[in-house]
């Protein structure tokens, strides 16, 4: 489903004097359909970059990233939205539409897929109830706590039952009880057929839900399997 072949990413600095900085160096791995993966590593090791490469919001400087059998380098612009609709991504400090209610924020992916409004309502309400956000149905993001916003981001990412779920520190800002529920949700989606890739700095979290592990250190893949 996802294949990295000798992928390197470097950020170019603004001024000519500063050297460019490697974010990933020569990373290769293969994620098969229906598997559960953890990407573990400290801050700045390139975990988020890997998720962005898979979501096609970044391009590798060298190497090739293949998602759903299509190289992200050569994917046609018209095909990209269809591929992205099959991916649910939860980014750390991810953005919610500030002028839309909690309901409309979660409904966004479904409406982009032109689902019927009755189905949108049923699915969103079920999801928000499960997330414990029913009382916040019409609240704007600015009226929500960090924990509620994080749950809303997760709800939006998984509402359309995507084939591939990418999560970057999904349990940040959540208490133990909520963390347990989110890990359970992601495991359940995995059981139902979704491929899940979670980036986290916490090995303890990975122990709660066994899966394949990629360990990143100093922007290099140390271990995969």
């Amino acid at each position: 489903m996802v294949r990295f072949e000798s992928v390197s990413v470097e950020y170019r600095r603004d001024s000519a004097q500063e050297a460019s900085r490697d974010v990933l160096r020569n990373v290769s791995f293969n994620v098969s359909t229906g598997s559960f993966w953890w990407i573990l590593g400290g801050a700045g090791t390139g975990k988020t970059t890997i998720l962005r490469l898979i979501n096609m919001s970044r391009r590798p400087t060298r190497g090739e990233v293949v998602v759903f059998g299509v190289s992200t380098d050569s994917v046609r612009r018209s095909v990209m939205p269809r591929l992205r609709r099959q991916i649910g991504i939860i980014l750390q400090n991810g953005q919610l539409a500030p002028h839309l209610s909690a309901f409309d924020n979660v409904a966004l992916p479904l409406r982009l897929q032109r689902r019927s409004e009755s189905q949108v309502r049923a699915d969103v309400i079920e999801m928000l109830r499960w997330m414990g956000l029913m009382s916040k149905l019409v609240s704007l993001p600015c009226d929500l706590s960090d924990s509620e916003r994080q749950r809303l981001l997760i709800a939006r990412a998984v509402i359309s039952r995507p084939r591939l779920i990418l999560a970057d520190e999904p349990t940040a800002n959540l208490d133990d009880n909520q963390t347990e529920r989110i890990i359970h949700l992601l495991s359940e989606l995995h059981r139902l057929g979704s491929t899940v890739i979670i980036a986290s700095h916490s090995e303890a979290l990975a122990d709660r839900c066994p899966g394949s592990v990629i360990i990143l250190s100093h922007n290099i893949l140390k271990d995969a399997g």
Binding site: R84, Q95, H99, L108
Partner: protein, 305 residues
């Protein structure tokens, strides 16, 4: 659970209601529509006026038959009759009486005209329909029946009117090009401003799988109604000015010479196409706005992966 407070299906997910400065754009486009309407109405009206005037010039001919060239034994009435006989396109013919000719010449030659004992030519005013063909037939008939006759058509006035019409048309074309250019520029600027304000949201929706076309349509649809309305408002405002001009210029129109104008009669002074111009103009402005917005957004989105 009752979902009364939830928004309808067509939500404004990009927040364009606040991002697009509708009032400023509406005012600018209304002004441009007003200008375009004035120019368009002027173009159409001047074309109509010129066409009618040229037609009048072409249909009015003056025939001078030198003294002694009339058909044998012809009297004043028969001079006219021989011209009418069997000629296609001659609507009416009127011969000037000797008194009328003397009166005409007196302005140039003074009161002593009759003392010169100059033989006066026969002057006949002819109204022709059918254009050049009728004139050719008339000239041929005259050459046979009254050699030495001269047929005069108002060539100078016709040429001047044509030049005037061309000038007005060129002016209108240039002005309309300027109006279209400014409309496009205003649209591009407004769209860029809205894109910059909603960059994060666009990025978010794009990441969720919205296509370029979807986002471009959201922007373009948002501007469609305001542009159309601006066209209608500007067109209607200009129409009242055009109507005033029409009343002021009514002496130039044959219809306008018929006495005091009622509102209906005054409207009848305007060509029918002018009355439909605000609608056509609004559609054109809406199409320009829609197309320009689509193009601008799609180009802008290319910078996003």
């Amino acid at each position: 659970m009752q979902l009364i407070s939830l928004r309808p299906t067509r939500i404004d997910e990009l927040g364009l209601r606040r991002a697009i400065d509708s009032w400023t754009t509406l005012a600018a486009i209304t002004g441009l529509a007003f200008l375009a309407m004035l120019v368009g109405a002027g173009w159409i009206s001047s074309n109509d006026f010129t066409r009618d005037s040229i037609c009048d010039c072409e249909s009015a001919a003056t025939i001078l038959i030198p003294s002694g060239s009339e058909p044998q034994g012809a009297s004043g009435d028969t001079k006219i009759e021989f011209l009418l006989m069997g000629l296609q396109g001659v609507e009416w013919v009127r011969a000037l009486t000797d008194e009328q000719i003397e009166d005409l010449l007196r302005r140039w030659l003074g009161k002593e005209i009759m003392e010169f004992f100059v033989p006066l030519p026969t002057v006949i005013s002819v109204h022709i329909t059918g254009g050049g063909g009728s004139v050719a037939a008339l000239t041929e008939r005259l050459a046979q029946q009254a050699p030495g006759s001269i047929v005069r058509i108002s060539d100078t006035l016709r040429t001047r009117l044509r030049a005037f019409a061309r000038c007005i048309e060129l002016f209108a074309r240039v002005t309309l090009i300027v109006v279209v250019t400014i409309t496009t520029t205003v649209t591009v600027m407004t769209t860029h401003s809205a894109l910059a304000r909603r960059r994060d949201l666009i990025d978010l929706v794009h990441q969720l799988g919205a296509s370029d076309g979807y986002i471009a349509c959201r922007f373009a649809n948002r501007g469609l109604a305001p542009y159309f309305m601006a066209g209608i408002i500007g067109g209607q405002l200009a129409l009242s000015v055009v109507f005033t001009f029409a009343v002021l210029l009514s002496p130039l129109s044959i219809k306008g010479l018929a006495g005091i104008l009622t509102v209906d009669a005054a409207f009848s002074l305007l060509p029918a196409s002018v009355l439909f111009l605000p609608l056509a103009l609004s559609l054109m402005i809406a199409i320009i706005g829609y197309g320009t917005t689509q193009f601008t957004v799609r180009i802008w989105l290319l910078r996003l992966l």
